[in-house]
């Protein structure tokens, strides 16, 4: 393995061992909480669209809203400052503190303040900064960085925190329980807040109409921070401005549910500073609040730091709609196993972290963890503002590719049939052009399989392509699905429909049997099938961030299928990730009409079978289950498209006894599990699926899965054979 790959693998391995369990338990808890909590909403989808529409509009009108906000803040008696970058923001905050002769600033958790590293700046000016959010405070004491945007100390177990507190503070009685630790922190921080000179908060939202800021917390520290000292400084990204108080409503309903799975967090503070509440001056403990002179001072610092450029960037703009709820991190299988210390950059982590890092820190920081997004799309339905997070990751990947120019580029260019400039790594080029490899592989099979399997070639593959030697390679078939199909004649006399079976690369070259099964099943149900010569969907290059190549594929695929669609034929797709291309990513590549046509004409194969049976096709033509026990794993993109149920329904109707895994991910996601730097992580993620399929109840069940990568992962994790559900139900001959 190359040094860089080895180093990355080692870091991931170490985080899986030390932080993985704590991160996994909490994020999975949050995620399950979300499923439950959003059910209580009458119209979850509608609320999400409403939230998105508000953000779209707000970012569109941002300069105008900021002008309005400036007026309201100033007429309320506060000050608004727009900071260009971190240094500018820090200078402003420092000057406010120096004006007040502040010795201590208490701070309530804010990612934006992490982004500008204001603590370091203030401390350099001899001003004490105390984080009052309990999780943030733990990290401050431990001198560590956050690993999650909502629960910063998620990677630390109770025991680790107890050790930390006992060593640092040496309490009379060692602290042990969560209750003891919390009360200890509450007391320590309570004292520190009482003597603070300035309170600093972030802001989740700020309304332009009234200058009201919303702070979402559960602990109450933001309330104390904002109300006890007489000076309040709020720092927030410019993207936090929304038009009106009423616009807060969908976010208030969505943010807690999406993040930690609470219906609502304990406190939503809606403050229009300077607030009317009296300051609480603990230096004059016996002066009634009613006699305290309250002369409050408020500064709102809105930070650009790359955001106005993101607003002009057609691909990164959506990132600004993000409300930092963390749903995309919590739902992400890789994040669940490594957490934000691997899946994060300078400040931001998790799904949308790449977009933020690319926008505010630059591509270098984003590049470090961008590969950990496998594009599984599970986060897209979790996001309360409907951001296509995998697309942003793909765009950043593409830009990173284009930024890295290596000395060997002259060698690579011309050897690979793609549309990419120099700089794309050999590994990415190989996986991105897998169609070519597959063609060659089938042509030379079985010699190619034998050669590829030899120790020496595995060694070279690992060294130059980063393909992990522990992963079994796909076996190319000499006779492709197309070859087989062309050598036979159709057997349907009076077809009910005509369908194109889309020959994805794997079905055509490797998993040929499932292709044949699909043909048999469809024909048995009265469908006339054709298998045309169409290019691969572009999923492979897309996953590698090779967008130009993927787009090229999209045009070719559409050209190859257009006449069939015009002719009223249905497009039946076996591989869910290819179907997902047709039904989502192609929207970015094709003219609107073309996208609509292909997306409307295409079906997942079991969905199609379901439809045929539903329309009266004779189920007896298929292989009945007679109670056979099946363990079924759906596919991430198939679930996002809402198609998991069709397979289950067909299998049950045919008399199979189906147990479906509720594990969200197989851990493989296409090329990801082949790459030596990620192999171990992919196995670790997959171990949950293996666990489910090896319980007493499931151990003897026949294993079926819908996706190629899921099948491969299951194949290597279990010692049982696996197959696609269509192979189960197709007539044996």
């Amino acid at each position: 393995m190359s040094k860089a790959r080895e180093a990355k693998a080692a870091k991931i391995r170490q985080l899986m061992e030390t932080e993985g369990d704590a991160v996994g338990t909490s994020t999975r808890g949050f995620n399950e909480g979300r499923y439950e909590s959003v059910q209580s909403l009458d119209d979850y989808e509608g609320l999400k669209s409403e939230a998105r529409a508000i953000k779209e509009d707000a970012i569109e009108r941002l300069p105008e809203l900021i002008d309005q906000l400036r007026e309201t803040v100033e007429s309320n008696g506060g000050t608004l400052y727009i900071a260009d970058d971190a240094a500018d923001a820090n200078r402003y905050v420092r000057e406010v503190c120096e004006d007040k002769e502040a010795e201590r600033v208490v701070k309530s958790k804010s990612m934006t303040s992490e982004e500008i590293e204001v603590n370091e700046d203030l401390e350099a000016a001899d001003i004490d900064v105390v984080e009052t959010d309990l999780g943030e405070w733990v990290l401050q004491v431990a001198d560590e960085s956050p690993s999650h945007i909502v629960a910063p100390a998620i990677h630390k177990s109770r025991d680790a925190i107890a050790d930390l507190f006992n060593e640092t503070f040496e309490p009379d009685e060692p602290l042990e329980t969560a209750e003891e630790l919390t009360m200890f922190a509450r007391e320590q921080l309570g004292d520190l807040i009482e003597g603070a000179d300035v309170g600093m908060t972030g802001a989740n939202f700020i309304t332009a109409d009234t200058g009201t800021m919303a702070l979402v917390t559960s602990e109450g520290n933001a309330r104390k921070t904002a109300v006890v000292p007489d000076t309040h400084v709020a720092v927030a990204g410019v993207e936090k401005v929304i038009p009106t108080v009423e616009d807060l409503r969908p976010f208030v309903e969505l943010i807690g549910k999406s993040g930690t799975g609470q219906d609502i967090t304990s406190y939503i503070s809606l403050l229009t500073p300077p607030v009317e509440s009296p300051t609480v001056d603990f230096d004059a403990p016996d002066t009634p609040l009613s006699e305290t002179e309250t002369d409050r001072d408020f500064h709102l610092v809105l930070i650009d730091n790359g955001r106005f450029d993101m607003r002009e960037d057609d691909q990164l703009r959506e990132t600004l709609y993000c409300i930092r709820c963390s749903a995309c991190s919590n739902v992400c299988a890789n994040f669940q196993h490594v957490g934000g210390h691997a899946f994060g950059g300078e400040t931001y982590s998790g799904g949308i972290g790449t977009g933020w890092e690319a926008g505010v820190e630059g591509l270098d920081s984003a590049a470090e963890f961008n590969d950990l997004c496998t594009g599984c799309s599970r986060c897209t339905t979790a996001c309360p503002v409907e951001i296509d997070i995998p697309w942003i990751n793909t765009v950043v990947r593409d830009r990173v590719n284009r930024g890295e120019v290596s000395e060997l580029d002259w060698l690579v260019e011309g050897l690979t049939p793609d549309e990419e400039p120099g700089g794309v790594s050999l590994q990415k080029r190989f996986f991105g052009n897998f169609e070519t490899a597959a063609k060659v592989g089938s042509f030379f099979a079985p010699v190619s399989n034998w050669a590829a399997g030899l120790g020496v070639s595995r060694d070279l593959m690992e060294r130059f392509l980063g393909i992990d030697a522990r992963r079994e390679l796909p076996e190319f078939q000499r006779e492709t699905l197309k070859d087989w199909f062309e050598s036979r004649t159709s057997r349907v006399d009076d077809p009910v429909r005509t369908a194109v079976l889309y020959p994805d690369v794997y079905t055509n070259h490797v998993q040929v049997e499932r292709g044949k099964a699909a043909v048999r099943a469809l024909e048995a149900l009265g469908v006339d099938v054709v298998v045309p010569d169409v290019r691969s969907s572009g999923r492979a290059p897309l996953s590698q961030g090779m967008i130009a190549t993927a787009e090229d594929h999209a045009h070719d695929v559409y050209a190859g299928l257009a006449e069939h669609i015009d002719d009223g034929r249905d497009i039946v797709v076996i591989e869910p990730s290819d179907l997902a291309m047709f039904q989502s990513e192609y929207e970015k590549f094709l003219p609107e009409k073309s996208f609509e046509r292909i997306s409307e004409a295409s079906y997942e194969v079991m969905e199609y079978v379901f439809g045929l049976l539903d329309n009266g096709a004779d189920a007896d033509a298929l292989s009945a289950g007679a109670g056979e026990e099946i363990a079924y794993h759906s596919h991430c993109q198939q679930r996002t498209l809402g198609l998991e149920g069709h397979t289950e329904a067909v299998l049950s109707d045919l008399g199979y006894d189906v147990a479906t895994s509720d594990v969200e991910c197989c851990g493989m996601a296409g090329s990801f599990g082949y790459k030596s730097e990620y192999y171990e992580l992919s196995v670790d993620v997959g171990s949950e699926l293996r666990g489910q399929f090896q319980t007493d109840e499931n151990r003897d069940r026949t294993v079926v899965a819908s996706g190629t990568s899921c099948l491969e992962q299951l194949d290597s994790l279990l010692s049982r054979p696996t197959q696609h559900p269509i192979q189960l139900v197709a007539p044996r001959r």
């Binding site: 009482e194 009234t210 602990e219």
Partner: protein, 167 residues
């Protein structure tokens, strides 16, 4: 307010493990006697003919706040779907009084309970444009899970009790 909305509010409070009691204006003192430990601080209620009993300190100092076991304040609104109460910041100190004690007792008029967030935000929008400058939508006690398990009372009250005034 319809009985249905009040019942939903009560269900939500139940789910949050927040206690509640109905009281008539005259009966408030008795209810507080039962539910509010001393020493207690409070803020005079803005409801006609409803006064806090003398033993609730309505002119607290910072030292009183720190020593109080309970804080009694009015709440401007109850939100039935969530069991939330809206606590408005006022110059006489509703915000600190509701925040520092281990128990917050929120006194709410039955007619101020609304079904859900849409109604609450219509009301809040009006309030912010014409009157109060701040409000907290408070749902249950302060809480944190940062120390490895859910603990109530991270920085704010550990318990909340709602008194519904039936006029």
């Amino acid at each position: 307010m319809s009985t249905g909305t009040v019942a939903t509010f009560e269900d939500s409070l139940e789910r949050l493990e927040v206690g509640w009691t109905h009281a008539s204006p005259d009966g408030l003192a008795d209810v507080l006697e039962e539910h509010c430990p001393e020493p207690a601080v409070g803020v005079e209620l803005p409801y006609d003919g409803v006064d806090l009993p003398d033993w609730v300190n309505t002119d607290p100092t910072p030292a009183d706040l720190r020593g109080a076991n309970a804080g009694v304040t009015a709440a401007g609104l109850g939100i039935a779907d969530y069991g939330s109460v809206v606590v408005q910041g006022t110059p006489d100190g509703i915000e600190p009084v509701s925040l520092f004690g281990d128990l917050h007792i929120a006194v709410l008029r039955r007619s101020d309970i609304v079904p859900g967030m849409p109604e609450a935000f219509d009301w809040l929008g009006e309030e912010f444009r014409t009157g109060h400058s701040s409000a907290i939508i408070a749902t249950g006690p302060s809480a944190t899970a940062d120390m490895g398990a859910l603990v109530k009372g991270a920085h704010g009250p550990k318990d909340v009790h709602v008194v519904i005034l039936d006029e």
